[in-house]
Amino acid sequence: MNWRGLWTLFIKENRRFLSVAVQTLFAPVVTTLLYLLVFGQLLDEESVAFRGVDYAHFLVPGLAMMALMQNAFANSSSSLIQSKMHGNIVFLLLAPLSPLEIYLAFLGSAVLRGLLVGLMVFLVGWLGYGMSWQAPGWILLFAVLSGAVMGGLGIMAGILSEKYDHLAAFQNFIVVPLTFLSGVFYSIHQLPPVWQQASHFNPFFYMVDGSRYGFFQQSDVPLGVSLGVTLGFLALVSAINLWLLVKGVKIRH
């Protein structure tokens, strides 16, 4: 392993998003908090949350996860497409970095940005609503795994997109709908049976549900199922990405 190379790329990716922190960290936090303000304060619908859980308390972890997931995706996907558009991806391709090293560096940075945004959303929710948590280890595990899944999807989208429009389609027609419909705003038990069934085919649902278990020790599906699906999805996304990078699809012509 070229550890120094991997570390350098990881640091480079972090410096890239930190250099435009207003856009990459603070703006997503503000947007997410607006959801909290509208849904948490104005709706205050207990009927769509877990039994015995206040709606705002139910909503904060979901919004934190949604922000984490969307920003992890945005980090790796936007970095890759920009590198392709500006042509500077060539520096990476000429370096003695393996596909695995490139993958891990992009993934690590995506997870870090996702965690920072998710943490900030959670902190504001905690200060505003006095959040508590039952099993922080599960929260952290699902946060990291979810960031990795979404960072991995971002890498895939960044590799496959040939222009910004392709990436926007991936983001707006796949990532945003699936995160919105992943149980961020409601417990799927409150949905009609057809939509409950449909939710089980959304991998993002298991990430949100697993992290909520860490807060309330309640979840829509058993924790083991959420963990298994999330790990399985991460393995699938990673395998596809490594194949794309080894074959040089849309990168090495």
């Binding site: 350098t8 790329l9 500006h86 520096f91 000429l94 090495r252």
Partner: protein, 302 residues
């Protein structure tokens, strides 16, 4: 005989129905200043990109300093520095940061590496721009930065892909002086350029690629000796006619340039000129240059 700096074995590349490279066999000797010439779309950049691993050949094998570009890519990339043809932006980082990052990818850091980066900045006149973001650099500065980036890891082979395209005369001269210096230090340099006079003055060995095929590969002197033509300029008054008119390849302000088969004597030409009533004031024989050889080997239908 030592391993070549770069070796291509039956390298072919297909894009859809088009074969950009049709089975290139070529060995670039260590320590050479090597010219890779061809018209636009001839396959030069595809060949260079395949050497750098940026293009994956459809078939064939490429080794850089004995290391297979696909299987032993870490070693081959450590041996190779590439200055790409296109100017590249990296708007998030300054010149020095980019050089440090590129060094890091190669596992290089510490005081010695920083000293080498300082030297590169100095040699390429970028010291006063070290802390400037790359999107604020002029085209010439970006070109010099690309050269510095290609050299951070002390490669044994340096590829310069059209490095002087769109570059002003002063910078072009300083780039060539720098390239000569690197070559004198033992580096193998592979150059593609549209300026054939540059290739002629810099390179000691030349390959010409045409429509994805290697047309010729030879020592420069040997290549120049292969020219099938010679040119003769006649300054005078009158008008060529008949067979003589067919040999005019260029009309000059006060005369004509004729193209003759290399082995043809001047006597026949002079007799024909006198027969047309041309009063000859001066006569010059032009030695074949690389441009003539290049054009004769790559003309349509050649």
């Amino acid at each position: 005989m030592s391993t070549p700096a770069v070796e291509f074995q039956s390298v072919a590349k297909r894009y859809g129905d088009l074969w950009a490279l049709k089975g290139i066999d070529l060995a670039i000797p260590r320590g050479s200043f090597y010219g890779l010439l061809g018209h636009n779309g001839a396959g030069k950049s595809t060949l260079i990109n395949a050497m750098a691993g940026l293009v994956i050949p459809t078939r064939g094998r490429i080794c850089v300093m004995g290391h297979d570009v696909q299987r032993d890519y870490r070693a081959s990339r450590r041996a190779l520095g590439v200055v790409p043809q296109e100017l590249i932006d990296e708007p998030f980082f300054s010149v020095r940061e980019l050089l440090e990052l590129q060094s890091g990818y190669f596992g290089l850091h510490g005081r010695r590496q920083r000293a080498w980066l300082d030297e590169l900045l100095e040699r390429l006149s970028l010291t006063d721009k070290a802390d400037v973001k790359t999107n604020q650099l002029s085209g010439g500065m970006k070109r010099r930065l690309l050269i510095a980036l290609a050299l951070v890891h002390h490669p044994e082979v340096l590829v310069l892909d059209e490095p002087t395209a769109g570059v002003d005369v002063a910078l072009r001269r300083s780039l060539w002086a720098f390239a000569r210096e690197l070559h004198a230090g033992g580096m193998t340099i592979i150059l593609t350029t549209h300026y054939l006079e540059e290739a002629e003055s810099l390179c000691d060995r030349i390959a010409i690629i045409h429509r994805g095929e290697l047309v010729v590969e030879a020592d420069k002197a040997e290549l120049l000796a292969r020219s099938p033509w010679k040119h003769v300029e006649i300054i005078g008054r009158g008008e060529p006619s008949g067979a003589l008119a067919g040999q005019v390849c260029e009309r000059l302000a006060e005369g004509w340039r004729f193209r003759l088969p290399r082995e043809a004597g001047l006597g026949t030409l002079l007799d024909q000129a006198r027969a047309c009533g041309i009063e000859i004031e001066d006569l010059r024989v032009i030695e074949p240059d690389l441009e003539q050889v290049f054009l004769s080997l790559t003309e349509e239908g050649a």
